[in-house]
């Protein structure tokens, strides 16, 4: 029996959810695919062990978060010569929901990867603060402070979403 059969079955069940998680972390299809593949390569190599975990998907998420954060650190070291800041554009006929989604995407894109990961784990994966801390390998207090800072940044960058974010902040902090 192929030792990766269990891994394939796991991906059949979890593939969609993990793809969405990767997309929320990166905000870009190519980057999401790269991130997911990089994380899964590690997971596949250790699958016999990972499959015995109570929640293998949590291990994959953690691998993605770590890779995303470490990749961001590497990218910061690149020396570049930016030519021009390109303004974002919106089409006039967007529905209200679409505009809200775009604004939130822009605001998420401005977050450092660790803060972004906290937001995604907390509100997309629906984890408690202690579960987020466990997956990110940090203290609960760190999760709280990162979430607080993230929501403050989101409020600043997306003032039209302040109501939604203020409500969230009260629960989080």
């Amino acid at each position: 029996v192929d030792r990766f059969e269990g891994f394939r079955e796991f991906m059949t069940v979890q593939g969609d959810r993990l793809s969405r998680f990767a997309y929320l972390l990166t905000g870009d299809h190519h980057a999401a695919e790269d991130l997911l593949q990089t994380a899964l390569a590690r997971v596949a190599a250790r699958w016999p062990k990972v499959s015995r975990y109570e929640r293998p998907e949590a291990y994959v998420r953690r691998a993605m978060v770590n890779e995303h954060i470490s990749g961001w650190r590497r990218r910061r070291k690149l020396v570049e010569q930016p030519v021009e800041a390109v303004p974002d554009r919106y089409e006039d006929d967007r529905s209200e929901d679409a505009v809200r989604r775009l604004m939130l995407k822009r605001a998420l894109a401005a977050l450092p990867p660790r803060q972004r990961a906290v937001i995604v784990l907390r509100y997309f994966s629906d984890l408690t603060e202690s579960e987020v801390a466990d997956e990110m390998g940090c203290a609960v207090g760190t999760v709280k402070s990162q979430a607080h800072a993230a929501l403050a940044t989101l409020r600043a960058n997306a003032p039209h979403l302040a109501e939604l974010l203020t409500e969230t902040a009260e629960v989080t902090t």
Binding site: F7, Y23, H29, D34, A45, R75
Partner: protein, 412 residues
């Protein structure tokens, strides 16, 4: 709380199912093999180092051997070996698939390998190879200006730089313009070298109702970028602004960008291009395809210019060399056409398959690497471009097997 959850769910719904399971399994197997072999490898390295021998490294020097001249008239890569026409055989430093290869002045070669994550190698006549770029997406090279453009997906930047020896200098970069935040990056699809770069978005889902893809033109030297998608019209007669028309390869203008049907395992954008010196009333639309493959790679099938300036470009069913005739509705994308007034008329049908790469041997002859979809194997054809031309199948170099890439000769 529900508000942000719903908003995140909405954004997550834009995600596709990234089918990377088998790629991860392959990588997992490699990691396991490496883990098993690492102790023995480390011990062997210590022993070899102790006796003054060092293991060859990827960007080291590969052993060059010499065989009989290939008789092909151009250099080719078969499998992971570069066969120079004069008989030299140079192993490539990687097993990754080859995307393109060029001769570079000075008798060396520039080879791009890998797809999702590409590396561009400078390979010397002595077999010494050095990565010029690595970890990039869709690198492209203009042999005339010796400029390279590439995209780095992690930070969403497009770069332009000039090849100088083994290095890329005069780098300029720009953040990917946010024309539409929904679907993939705006990667360099075509460029003039030095002057402008067409950034095209490669949609994974082709929407017939919205056939105009997102794209922009970046002018690195000027430090400006322009979204031209909304400025262009598919009707050349309606185009009143000449500015968005740009030369995509020598002798050709681009007038628009559209989405083509999914062809086989490829999803294509097509740039509608027109011979530069044709009057609009006589223009026969041709297509320049920019295709994504299932593994995420993106292939821009560019024009190849002969030593005297004839341009070999992609063409649809109106092409003079019609070698790619598969897909839905009988639509052929892309074939290749000789863009020369005296090359009309001849149509070569090489069977069911597609062109992987081409190179000019002289102004009358082109070498084509062609993959049969029936057998999955590559063949080489020498095609005469004059009206009475012929298509001859050529043998691969002795002992060669694997994917075939024709090395584009020096034209600059």
């Amino acid at each position: 709380v529900n508000g942000i959850r719903e908003a995140l769910d909405d954004i997550a719904a834009e995600a596709r199912r990234y089918d990377v399971t088998e790629a991860a399994v392959r990588a997992g197997r490699r990691r396991q093999r490496v883990a098993r072999l690492a102790p023995a490898g480390a011990m062997a390295a210590v022993v070899l180092a102790a006796v003054g021998i060092w293991l060859p490294v990827h960007h080291g020097t590969q052993a060059v051997s010499t065989g009989a001249p290939t008789g092909l008239g151009a250099d080719v890569i078969v499998g992971r070996t570069l066969y120079a026409a004069d008989g030299r055989r140079i192993p490539l430093p990687t097993n990754d698939p080859v995307s393109w290869a060029y001769q570079v002045p000075g008798g060396t070669w520039l080879v791009s390998t890998g797809r999702t994550s590409a590396t561009v190698w400078r390979i010397g006549t002595d077999g010494h190879s050095r990565p010029v770029l690595s970890g990039v997406r869709t690198p492209q090279y203009d042999p005339d200006s010796r400029h390279l453009v590439w995209y780095t997906p992690r930070d969403k930047r497009v770069f332009d730089g000039r090849l100088s020896g083994d290095r890329v200098v005069d780098r300029l970069s720009i953040r990917e313009p946010n024309l539409d935040s929904g679907d993939g990056g705006l990667v360099p699809a075509a460029f003039s070298g030095a002057d402008w770069v067409v950034l095209a978005r490669a949609p994974m889902v082709v929407d017939a109702k919205h056939p105009t893809g997102k794209y922009a033109v970046w002018y690195p030297g000027r430090g400006t970028i322009r979204d031209v998608a909304s400025d262009l019209s598919a009707d050349p007669h309606a185009d009143s602004d000449p500015v968005p028309m740009v030369t995509i390869v020598r002798g050709v203008k681009v007038l628009g960008l559209g989405a083509a049907p999914i062809m086989g395992d490829r999803r294509c954008l097509t740039l509608a291009i027109f011979p530069y010196n044709y009057p609009y009333s006589a223009v026969d639309p041709r297509r320049h395809a920019v295709c994504t493959t299932r593994d995420g790679g993106l292939t821009a099938t560019g024009g190849i210019t002969s030593p005297k300036g004839l341009t070999l470009i992609d063409a649809g069913t109106s092409g003079k060399i019609d070698v790619w005739k598969f897909g839905r509705g009988g639509m052929g994308i892309p074939g290749w056409a000789i863009d020369a007034d005296d090359a009309h008329g001849a149509v070569w049908r090489l069977g069911k398959g597609y062109v992987r790469s081409v190179g000019w041997l002289d102004d009358d002859t082109v070498l084509v690497a062609y993959r049969s979809t029936a057998t999955g194997t590559d063949r080489l054809y020498r095609i005469g471009v004059r009206p009475s031309g012929t298509a001859d199948r050529l043998p691969l170099p002795a002992g060669a097997s694997g994917d075939v890439t024709v090395v584009a000769p020096v034209t600059g």
